[in-house]
């Protein structure tokens, strides 16, 4: 066997299987092992909507994409270089989203060609022919047959054998893999550790003898402690690092795993996960805890936000701190529960009966999912208001290594103040310019007040005079102005001025910056900018935008394209950040967005940005 060795700066690998066959676990482990070897890593979960969709179904693929590189990785990249598939049908779900290209190496379980069912044999044959036509390089291998040498029922366990197979192809360090297996399974049983280690070795050895492909993706051992986790895990750790003791939630995809993570480790900081009877109760309970002096968090996704809106507005009106982590998914309604979308920006900022200003932040990578929870808790208490932290399904399940944060005591919320309250200070002693006031906590003698969702004056008395509502609305609004004054203008990726500025928010940053870098490398004057604060908006945007000939947003929520003739400038509906920025700056900001339910690939962004650049040139020429 002659080896085909490629030394590359980066490579994309996918594991795909039927649900429950462990491709996700294998993929995650491959990612962790690669991070440990000093590679940059980004993983994307491939998740079916159902727990156990029918076997061998084209829509039921479950698995993981792992993009590894010599340097840092910030997004899922383009097409896969290598795919391990446990059956041929699940591969169609990958071709459907253009995840593969001619030349992609497909390592395919071959048992289906001898299946007892003639229909399956036929499907396999047809698929192979189709894959050949598409230019894939198919390498068949006897997955279950080999696993049966080690365990009688290979349905569980074959993922580890497959992990060994690709570990050989990617020259992964076996000792790190064995250690990962030990870490993962040791709490279950030693026997499980042994079997899985045996399987991974067997796959590794088999590949050494039989598979000709080798990829070298050199990594460099980091000089400091690193951690690897997904965005939901990072947000859970951020919750703990912020000193938040209460996570009050109701199960909803893709947000729930934050609470899973907390349920497993929250006791380390004296915290408790409350699973409420519904989304409304979840936020109500969190606000109860907050009213009593413990800043609490609730975590949900779009449909949950819709249900929580009334309580959110109460938190604004009554000035109760709260951290609401919103892990967005596809909408509207039940939408695409497991898929990626940034559709809740405007509802996060505005949804409420009446005007209810609140703080909204958006994390743009995994590390920010951690830090923004700490920032949010602090802001919620300082400004006595709810803070929404936006992430999405892309961040929720995407894994990325980052520098291990060292926890600080100043991140932790202070203990409840139970000292006497000066009875001359009103419970809403709004500062005339900032609107900020301190709140009495139950237990503080002299601070007794009745919090109310009704319009109320400084004493929290129900407002009957006409001027009170104007005054209290103003106080709440000025808090956001005070916060904005403390922020700095956002940093620009690329030059400070030029032809085109691409503005984004949230998880698309990595793909957009990669796309912009590719175009910039050819000398084009394009830059990008990612907003972390959406409410209030970061300052200085107007001045920045005016330094570019054109400004556009790139987002993963729906917008009309202008080029089909039916949509006009007047009737066009814009992507959500574009709506906001247009209204705020009066600049004619363009947008490009897609809602395929998958993370944006840099190539797709590149195409869109190039199109806007050439339109700009044409306009100039004419």
């Amino acid at each position: 066997m002659e080896l085909i060795v490629k030394t590359v700066k980066e490579s994309i690998l996918e594991f795909v299987s039927d649900s429950g066959e462990g491709a996700q676990t294998a993929g995650q482990m491959f990612g962790t092992v690669s991070a440990k070897m000093g590679n940059g890593v980004w993983t994307v979960e491939i998740i079916p909507a159902e727990i156990e969709p029918p076997h061998r179904s084209r829509s039921g693929a479950s698995g993981n994409r792992i993009r590894i590189a010599t340097g840092p990785v910030t997004n899922m990249g383009e097409t896969a270089d290598v795919v391990v598939a446990f059956n041929e049908q699940v591969l169609y779900s990958r071709t459907d989203v253009h995840a593969l290209r001619p030349g992609t190496i497909i390592l395919l379980e071959d048992k289906w060609k001898d299946d007892a069912d003639p229909e399956i044999r036929e499907q396999y044959k047809t698929a192979l022919a189709e894959f050949e036509e598409l230019g894939f390089v198919v390498f068949e291998f006897p997955l279950e047959k080999e696993c049966k040498k080690i365990l009688p029922d290979p349905r569980r366990g074959k993922n580890m054998w497959a992990l060994g197979l690709v570990a050989r192809i990617y020259q992964r360090d076996m000792s790190i893999i064995l250690e990962e297996i030990r870490r993962k399974f040791t709490r279950k049983s030693q026997k499980l550790v042994d079997v899985n280690q045996q399987l991974v070795r067997a796959g590794y050895d088999w590949a050494a003898e039989n598979v000709p492909y080798r990829f070298e993706v050199p990594g460099s051992k980091p000089d400091q402690d690193m951690v690897v986790m997904n965005g939901n895990q990072a947000a859970a750790l951020g919750t703990m690092a912020a000193g938040i003791e209460v996570c009050s939630m109701y199960p909803i995809t893709p947000a729930t795993s934050v609470s899973h993570q907390l349920a497993a480790i929250f006791h380390e900081v004296g915290g408790f996960v409350h699973q409420a009877e519904d989304e409304i109760s979840a936020i109500g309970y969190a606000l109860g805890a907050s009213y009593a002096g413990k800043t609490a968090m609730t975590v949900t996704s779009g449909p949950g936000l819709a249900l929580k809106t009334e309580f959110l507005a109460l938190a604004v009106q009554a000035e109760l701190p709260l951290v609401l982590l919103l892990v967005q998914r596809g909408g509207p309604s039940t939408g695409l529960p497991t898929r990626v979308e940034q559709g809740d920006l405007l509802s996060s900022i505005f949804a409420a009966p009446g005007d209810a200003p609140r703080i909204v932040l958006a994390a743009s990578d995994i590390e920010e999912c951690f830090h923004f929870m700490i920032t949010a808790r602090k802001l919620a208490e300082t400004f006595r208001t709810p803070v929404i932290v936006l992430t999405d399904a892309n961040l929720a399940t995407g894994q990325q290594p980052f520098k291990r944060p060292v926890m600080l005591e100043e991140w932790i919320s202070p203990p409840i103040d139970q000292s006497d309250w000066d009875p001359n200070v009103e419970p809403y002693d709004w500062d005339a310019s900032t609107g900020v006031s301190e709140r009495p906590i139950p237990g503080q003698k002299g601070g007794e007040y009745v919090l109310t969702g009704l319009a109320h004056n400084e004493k929290s008395q129900v407002a009957y005079e006409s001027c009170v509502n104007q005054r209290s609305m103003e106080a709440r609004s000025r808090k956001l102005i005070a916060l904005q004054k403390s922020l700095k203008p956002p940093k620009i990726h690329g030059d400070e001025e030029g032809d085109l500025l691409v503005v984004s928010w949230g998880s698309t940053r990595g793909a957009i910056e990669e796309a912009v870098d590719r175009i910039r490398a050819e000398g084009a004057k394009v830059s990008s900018l990612t907003l972390r604060f959406l409410s209030p908006l970061e300052p200085g945007l107007d001045a920045i935008f005016k330094r570019f000939k054109k400004v556009m947003t790139v987002e993963v929520n729906y917008s009309d394209d202008l080029d089909d003739g039916f949509v006009t400038e007047e009737s066009r509906r814009y992507a959500q950040l574009a709506w906001l920025l247009r209204a705020k700056t009066l600049i004619d900001i363009d947008c490009w967005s897609r809602v395929y339910g998958i993370p944006l690939a840099p190539g797709l962004v590149e195409e869109a940005v190039r199109a806007r650049l050439s339109a700009l040139k044409t306009a100039k020429a004419s």
Partner: protein, 317 residues
């Protein structure tokens, strides 16, 4: 203090609170509203128990009766329609030192807040829950409520309420882990007081339904039972709500009922020929969610930092 000589063998109270210390804003209920009787009973109870105002929280929803926290000089949370119970649970969870009362109405509890009612009963967290039931929506002006009698005219069911009313007592008694269920009527202040007192002393969630007159939208609703006390069946038991001598003369119809007997509680709570009042059920041993929700309370900042470090270390590579 209080003219007591220092060398007397007596510990004077650090402060002695009187009724006025619990009275806040002037109530804005209609004249003759049954809510006044409940408010007075609560202020009396607070005084008699010397509840520290700063450690007492009245949580309510939306509706006429839910204005009650504004009239108590304690901490209060006048929140959303139907949602006082989740808020009260959240307060209770991390503040076992606070005394929590929940004020809710028949629309608030038995219509828009039904899910929370059922689950709060099951959680059985220590709090005193008062359902002020006037059988009608008052604040929104006379719509049919879940407890409106069948056939009763309202602005939304103008040919009379279509369906028979829900029975909040049998519903509550039917929920797993209920631990205290009682009923009283606003026009017997002594019985209201004694019921609230027993409820407040209960270690879990005490659910008290108080039939409450609405002279504006339900005039005469309870006239018949008020005028003919034989239509009331008073439950009595050494472990139940006491019936004082004055009340004993009026309430001639009585039934011995052991509040440990759930079967008989359900039976008597379901009676439609008479109005049963008193303690239907009490279980001092029922499991309490408080015991779980307060986990880890009181950890210092240093311990939390160390705990968060340990959690982070699990992700080291």
């Amino acid at each position: 203090m209080y003219g007591i000589k220092k060398d007397w063998d007596l510990e004077p109270l650090p402060r002695c609170l009187v009724m006025e210390d619990y009275q806040a804003a002037e109530p804005r209920w209609c004249a003759g509203c049954g809510d006044f009787a409940v408010l007075t009973a609560l202020q009396r109870l607070a005084r008699d128990k010397q509840l520290a105002p700063e450690k007492t929280v009245f949580v309510s929803g939306i509706g006429c009766s839910s204005r009650l926290p504004h009239y108590m000089k304690t901490y209060g949370f006048h929140g959303l329609h139907g949602r006082p119970l989740p808020v009260a649970s959240g307060i209770r969870a991390r503040r076992p030192d606070l005394d929590i009362f929940v004020i809710t109405g028949d629309g608030d509890c038995c219509a828009i807040g039904t899910a929370h009612w059922i689950h709060a009963i099951r959680y059985n967290m220590k709090m005193t829950v008062l359902l002020l039931d006037n059988n009608i929506y008052g604040l929104t002006k006379m719509q049919t409520s879940p407890t409106t009698p069948k056939g009763h005219y309202s602005n939304t069911q103008t040919t009379g309420a279509y369906l028979s009313p829900i029975n909040p007592l049998t519903v509550t008694l039917g929920i797993t882990n209920r631990s205290f269920v009682a009923q009283t009527v606003d026009w017997y202040p002594a019985h209201v007081y004694d019921t609230l007192k027993a409820a407040h002393e209960h270690p879990g969630l005490a659910f008290v339904r108080i039939l409450q007159r609405c002279p504006h939208f339900m005039p005469g609703e309870f006239d018949a039972i008020q005028q003919d006390a034989t239509k009331i069946l008073a439950l009595e038991h050494p472990d139940g709500i006491p019936i004082d001598d004055g009340l004993a003369r009026v309430l001639t119809e009585r039934k011995e009922h052991d509040p440990r007997n759930l079967g008989s509680a359900l039976e008597v709570a379901g009676r439609e020929d008479v109005l049963p009042i008193g303690l239907f059920y009490r279980d001092l041993e029922a499991e309490r969610y408080d015991d779980f929700a307060a986990a880890g309370l009181g950890m210092s900042a240093k311990e939390k930092v160390a705990g968060a470090q340990r959690a982070m270390d699990r992700f080291l590579i």
